[in-house]
């Protein structure tokens, strides 16, 4: 059913239709609207016997789900930013124990300085934890990915993160086609765990494993993600069949057929990229785009196949591997190793900095024209004036004070400018 609805509400509705049995959460912006909605539904009895648990920290939130999932309950939570970091130990543990928990990440920057706005630093920090990470471009896809996430998690017995850009999607009202309960039930069978805490059949879960078997356990975790590479397209296909629209999968291509330059990115920025691509196409530029949905597992083969015909690739990413550059870009380079394709990293949208068509257009054009001056990595819309001023100031006095505040003072206009 079509609905004009806030992203968080839409996702909550979809998650509810997945019949979760235990939901546990701790408040942190910008994911809160999702769990608030689920809490209300639980209270209204719309989720049957589902238990909604308010806990004292994100660490506890995921820990509660570890217990619940190991007891055979379909388990869900959501978090963002610092919350995910505070969870970190449990994040690794849930994956290590192979518990099919689904968690929404309302992507948000990491402090300090504290910043509540969107980028991908948080989920990137957990990219090697053994969770599957799927990124949504729109709220429609956010809804659809949650349905696929539970299916995928439970088939593999592996936890899944659905990454949704904070505010940009979570707080955006737009048209969403919500599935019916019948459709969801048909797509998502009841949870049949591979291991469960049951007095009738006792097992010890979470043994200490020494050097003699640890490497094997890790390999098996890796192997699980390789299986996900096969499973994801199949589930997407099945989804398209059952719901009449395509969502998810490993990645999707946009006007790449004859493209010399291909832009690749995660999440909601793909919409703006597509509009920009259309405009540039109108000027005759051979440019296309690839939307990467699955970041973990990273679909090396699919990415290679999608990009190999291009002359150059631009990676737009909302994160920064400090001291290296792009995280997605490094993965893309790995996919393209051995091919004569130039990969350019564009660090953009950090801490909520708006990514505008204008800026993208400028960058795409520059790269397409193979300008020598293009820096690697390129920081989109970086205010060099401010940076150089601050660097100079730091150079002259040791006690230069807090950088963040100094920078703000220079850009004197908090929240009043559009960008």
């Amino acid at each position: 059913m079509l609905k004009q609805i806030e992203g968080s509400q839409a996702m909550a509705a979809a998650i509810a239709m997945c019949r979760p049995e235990v939901i546990s959460c701790y408040p942190i912006t910008p994911q809160t609207h999702i769990v608030e909605a689920l809490s209300a539904m639980t209270k209204r009895g719309e989720l049957g016997s589902c238990q909604f648990i308010n806990v004292e920290s994100e660490f506890a939130a995921l820990s509660v789900l570890i217990g619940a999932s190991a007891t055979g309950a379909r388990s869900y939570t959501a978090t963002s930013s610092q919350g995910l970091l505070f969870m970190a130990e449990a994040v690794y543990n849930a994956a290590g124990l192979g518990l099919p928990i689904v968690m929404t990440i309302g992507n948000r920057a990491l402090g300090a300085p504290i910043n509540i706005w969107n980028d991908h630093s948080d989920s990137m920090s957990m990219r090697d934890a053994g969770w599957i990470q799927l990124h949504a471009e729109s709220n429609q896809e956010a809804v659809d990915l949650h349905l696929q996430a539970f299916r995928l998690a439970e088939e593999l017995s592996c936890p899944v993160m659905v990454c949704v850009d904070g505010f940009i999607l979570t707080h955006a009202y737009e048209r969403v086609d919500l599935p019916t309960q019948e459709q969801v039930d048909a797509y998502l069978p009841p949870y049949d765990p591979v291991q469960v805490l049951d007095p009738a059949e006792p097992v010890s879960i979470g043994a200490m494993v020494g050097p003699e078997a640890f490497a094997e356990v890790r390999y098996l975790a890796h192997h699980k993600q390789l299986r996900a590479l096969e499973l994801l397209p199949r589930l997407a296909e099945e989804f398209a069949h059952g719901f009449g629209r395509s969502s998810g999968g490993l990645l999707s291509e946009y006007r790449t057929a004859d493209a010399e330059t291909i832009v690749i990115a995660l999440g909601s920025v793909n919409g703006t990229i597509k509009d920009t691509v259309d405009e540039l196409r109108d000027t005759g530029m051979a440019i296309g785009a690839v939307k990467l949905c699955s970041f973990r597992p990273f679909p090396l083969a699919a990415v290679r196949a999608a990009l190999q015909k291009a002359k150059r690739v631009i990676v737009i990413e909302k994160d920064l591997a400090v001291g290296l550059g792009g995280i997605v870009a490094s993965n893309v380079r790995m996919a393209l190793r051995g091919l004569p394709v130039a990969v350019h990293t564009v660090i953009a949208g950090l801490g909520g900095r708006a990514i505008t068509k204008v800026s993208l257009r400028r960058v795409f054009t520059e790269v397409h024209a193979q300008s020598e001056s293009f820096a690697e990595p390129h920081f989109l819309d970086l205010n060099w004036q401010v940076v150089e001023k601050e660097l100079a100031r730091q150079a002259e006095q040791r006690r230069a004070g807090p950088t963040a505040e100094n920078v703000l003072r220079q850009v004197n206009a908090i929240g009043t400018r559009v960008h």
Binding site: G98, Q195, V203, S204, I205, A207, V209, E216
Partner: protein, 545 residues
């Protein structure tokens, strides 16, 4: 579950049983039985802890049978035994000793009340044994020999069986119906007692009666005397004949108003207390040493004092006149021996009873070849209580050593064992004694706090005016409680501590009466079981590596 479980992180239950941690062990626990101090101290060799164990469960008949395997006279001993077992009882170091004698008496009295009898004796051996004297050791020997299948005949010179138990120990300590009841049980074993049957020539009587062996148990009937100048010998008599006269109730004994007793032994106390009961207004004990050196037991002296008997310590009698005694004050030298001071004093007394000890009347044995005596006529015996004359054994007060009813009964048992071996041409070797269970072996924390139960005592007035028994017995409840005060020193009583406290579940419980077993596959040898065993029935031994 249809799915395969995750590798390594998920494990099947209880699988650690493959890991035999017993290999870590440098010491191993072992169960053992140690010798309880009560058993060790009992002159009659009773297995006290054993019969207490049955009594703890209220299985009194079982307890009785366990008891009479060693001593046929629980009702008597529960009354007259000086119970060295209680002096040895480890519980004495915790609160007060278990009142073993009270429980023993309860069992004895219960047996009489219920008419419990000894089990059937062993098949008849066809051997005949003569026993001279129906005192404690004679009767004890008779019982044991009969149980061993021999035909036993007792020749008793006196009119009634019991010896000193009847003619030495006053009624108020041992009622005669009790004495008769327990002696009576011997008849059921085919023991015959011929009364008023003195023996002049043992060898002749043995041959005449067709006896294969003989046990002499004539006791020590003769009072020792001392020279005291005295006008009227009639005013002086000896304790043994005094007590016998009172018991046999023949011609009335004239004592007068004031009676003095000379001596510091139990007999002196018995004589004094009997005199009180016969109406003596003043009863005075004169003893040449002081209280801590007296031969009588504490409680005997205490009870005498309670009953108004006066004791003059450190006095010797120089001479006796019509109604007075001249005594000399003594001083103890550094060795505790009395030395004259020359200070004299007069004491009023109408009668003087001498209680200066006894010696056996063994003259009639003079002509038996191979026998040896000391100057007091005490008959020498070897370690097996056999005299120099083959087949002739002796025990009780007539042989060297301490004298008490219980010692005598012990002699009877011991003699019976050796005599039986003699008759069967074998040797009797007693089993080796295990290590003594000392207080240090116990973990006393586990034992409940439980005060020793007291026996009711007759009020003083009736004590001094009648011969009725002073001490009453325990009720069934108090007897049970008292039995349960036993610490079971050195022997497992199945408290489950070892089974419970083993961190490795390495103790196997084998069910009631079957105790436990160690599972050395898993025992790491920590020693907790030994440390927490209340009764010291587990020891740690080094593993040989």
């Amino acid at each position: 579950m249809s799915h395969p479980r995750p590798f390594a992180i998920t494990l099947d239950p209880g699988s650690s049983l493959h890991n035999h941690t017993g290999t870590w062990r440098t010491q191993r626990p072992v169960y053992l039985n140690r010798l309880p101090p009560c058993n060790n101290a009992c002159p009659a060799g009773e297995n006290i802890q054993q019969w207490l164990y049955h009594a703890e469960e209220g299985h009194y008949e079982q307890a009785f049978h366990a008891l009479i395997r060693d001593n046929p006279f629980p009702a008597i001993h529960g009354r007259v035994c000086y119970h060295p077992c209680e002096d040895a009882c480890n519980r004495g170091q915790l609160d007060q000793p278990v009142s073993i004698h009270a429980v023993e008496r309860f069992l004895g009295d219960e047996a009489i009340k219920q008419g419990w009898l000894p089990p059937a004796p062993a098949p008849a051996s066809g051997k005949r044994v003569l026993i001279v004297g129906a005192g404690p050791s004679g009767l004890s020997a008779a019982y044991h020999l009969a149980m061993l299948g021999h035909k036993v005949v007792i020749y008793e010179a006196g009119p009634l069986p019991g010896g000193m138990m009847r003619f030495g120990i006053p009624k108020y300590r041992l009622p005669r119906d009790i004495l008769d009841a327990e002696i009576g049980r011997l008849a059921t074993l085919g023991v015959t007692i011929e009364l008023n049957r003195p023996v002049a020539d043992v060898a002749h009587d043995m041959a005449a009666g067709g006896f294969d062996a003989c046990f002499l148990a004539i006791g020590a009937q003769l009072s020792k005397r001392t020279e005291i100048p005295c006008r009227d010998a009639g005013k002086m008599l000896d304790a043994v004949s005094f007590l016998r006269a009172v018991e046999s109730g023949q011609e009335p004994v004239r004592l007068g108003r004031r009676v003095a007793i000379y001596g510091g032994g139990n007999t002196a106390m018995d004589a004094a207390r009997t005199a009180r009961r016969l109406g003596a207004e003043e009863t005075l004990i004169i003893y040449r040493r002081d209280r801590e050196h007296m031969a009588a037991l504490e409680f005997e002296a205490d009870e005498a004092l309670q009953e108004g008997v006066v004791i003059r310590w450190l006095r010797t009698i120089k001479q006796m006149d019509d109604s007075s005694l001249t005594v000399e004050e003594m001083e103890l030298d550094k060795d505790g021996w009395p030395q004259p001071t020359g200070r004299l004093e007069k004491l009023e007394a109408d009668t003087l009873i001498l209680a200066l000890g006894q010696k056996p009347d063994s003259g009639f044995l003079a002509k038996v070849p191979g026998l040896q005596f000391d100057k007091e006529g005490v008959l020498k015996v070897d370690a097996n209580l056999m005299t120099g004359y083959p087949g002739l054994f002796a025990g009780g007060d007539m042989v060297p050593g301490q004298r008490s009813v219980t010692i005598a009964v012990g002699h009877g048992k011991k003699a019976a064992r050796h005599l039986d071996a003699y008759l069967r041409q074998t040797r009797y070797c007693p089993p080796p004694k295990p290590e003594l269970a000392s207080f240090g072996h116990l973990n006393t924390w586990y034992y409940s706090d439980a005060e020793r139960s007291r026996q009711p005592v007759l009020d003083l007035l009736r004590r001094t005016s009648s011969f009725s028994e002073i001490h009453a017995g325990l009720s069934a409840d108090t007897a049970l409680f008292e039995a349960r005060r036993c610490l079971s020193c050195g022997n497992c009583f199945e408290c489950d501590n070892c089974y419970g406290v083993c961190p490795d579940n390495a103790v196997i419980k084998k069910g009631p009466g079957n105790r436990y077993e160690f599972n050395y596959d898993f025992c790491k040898g920590c020693g907790l079981c030994a440390q927490e065993c209340p009764c010291g029935a587990i020891a740690m031994e080094n593993e040989k590596i």
